[in-house]
Symmetry: none
Subunit: 231 residues, 2 copies
DNA sequence: AAGCCAACGTAAAGGTTGTGTAAAGGACTG
DNA sequence: CAGTCCTTTACACAACCTTTACGTTGGCTT
């Protein structure tokens, strides 16, 4: 059961959000004070925290900063309209996303799901027993931070390795460009941002030096898949 | 019991609509002021809202915009004749349909039923326990966003997949072209719009590569059904 | 039964959008 | 300040969706 904590002094808003998230099957709890929220968040019993920036008593950014000293728990910041600066600061402090008020419940749920899906990707990523795995002629050696094509080690940059590792660890699954960008490049995918495409292109080129077969398949509009050779 | 809220300052009209909808077995309530209607709509006790664009006090579009920040509740906009622009704006703000005044009760009821049916389709769609299902030689793997014919995976475009998934999830039921267009293509079905027909044609062609049997049956004037093999 | 017409099937053309990639531009490092 | 890496720019291309056009089908009228 996924539990979500909301820290916001707007009681009416928290009640509204409570309704929607409970409809979607989430466990939900709201508190209206910064310090109280911080304590609860630190307890690590919630999979996600919705955090308002404007809070009486203790600023949302302060809460975030202190929380990050204890916990990686994903945080979605809620900001009043036009707090551009706060957004930037929040993301730098380690917020996972931000959402400007007023927001639609639809949008909120979509953002929450996106974050949780990404967290799952990361956790899947970190399973140590999969430190070495082999797919379709590619061998990942995450201890050495290296990928082999056949016997040939690829000379990858740090970013290229991260992207390829992510794809390898989810071989057969579609990984969205949004997720790849956030997890490997550490930034939201912007319109007309082509850098991820370039990395993919470069990775393909390096693999193709040793193996002509198609490894990374493009799914237009969806993302990329690392093809498994045969089932 | 399905409850419908009508927000319209024309008292005579609301009484008329009340009669018809109650005859059809709907719970009905009318209010004549924007703010009051907004409060009621936000309470989520109604399955559908009929919303007049011309309202004293608070504009119907404003009501809609504010409602959408709190609720998914379906909205059918009522517009005075010739408010073409309003229609467009309303649909962009998230109205589900519009109906020009004066309208016949018969038409109103038809539109209401269409919207409610679509909402049910979507809800049915979202049931996660049905992530994998098999019908008549077709297997849906929604985790991988893939459909298999026998063992062969189909190479579908995003749109084709959406259409086929919708049909598969309602196998044995007729799905209207209007619904398919709105849910898979994201637009109302226009007169002489043949793009949905083309998608169906292409899907059939792709399935037929591996299985000659008739999967998608046309019901002239009604829509399409994904045939279940045997009962 | 013939004829009409609207709905549908689909090939081909048209237009739009996302992606591939070379090359140039920045940013950082030692 | 040279080298490495990441990003941006620019253009080409391919995939995709839609439109057009014409043929076919099925229901309805006369």
């Amino acid at each position: 059961m996924t539990s979500i904590l909301m820290i916001d002094d707007d009681v009416a808003l928290t009640q509204l959000v409570a309704e929607y998230l409970q409809l979607d099957g989430y466990q939900f709890k709201a508190v209206h004070q910064g310090p109280e929220g911080l304590e609860l968040a630190k307890s690590n019993t919630f999979q996600l925290v919705l955090l308002d920036i404007m809070l009486p008593g203790m600023d949302g950014l302060t809460v975030l900063k202190q929380l990050r000293q204890h916990s990686y728990c994903p945080v979605l910041m809620l900001t009043a309209r036009g707090d551009e600066i706060d957004k930037v600061v929040g993301l730098e402090l380690g917020a996972d996303d931000y959402l400007a008020k007023p927001f639609s419940p639809r949008e909120l749920v979509a953002r929450i799901k996106a974050i949780l899906r990404r967290v799952e990707l990361i956790q899947h990523q970190q399973q140590p027993q999969l430190s070495a795995l082999q797919v379709n002629g590619l061998r990942l050696d995450s201890a050495k931070r290296q990928v082999l094509v056949g016997e040939q080690p690829l000379i990858l940059t740090a970013t290229e390795y991260q992207i390829l590792e992510l794809l390898l660890r989810h071989a057969g699954d579609v990984v969205s460009k949004e997720d790849l960008s956030q997890l490997a490049l550490g930034k939201r995918l912007q319109l007309y941002d082509r850098s991820l495409d370039m990395h993919i292109s470069n990775i393909r080129k390096k693999i193709a030096q040793y193996d002509e077969g198609e490894k990374i398949q493009t799914l237009r509009g969806l993302g990329y898949v690392l093809l498994e050779g045969e089932q």
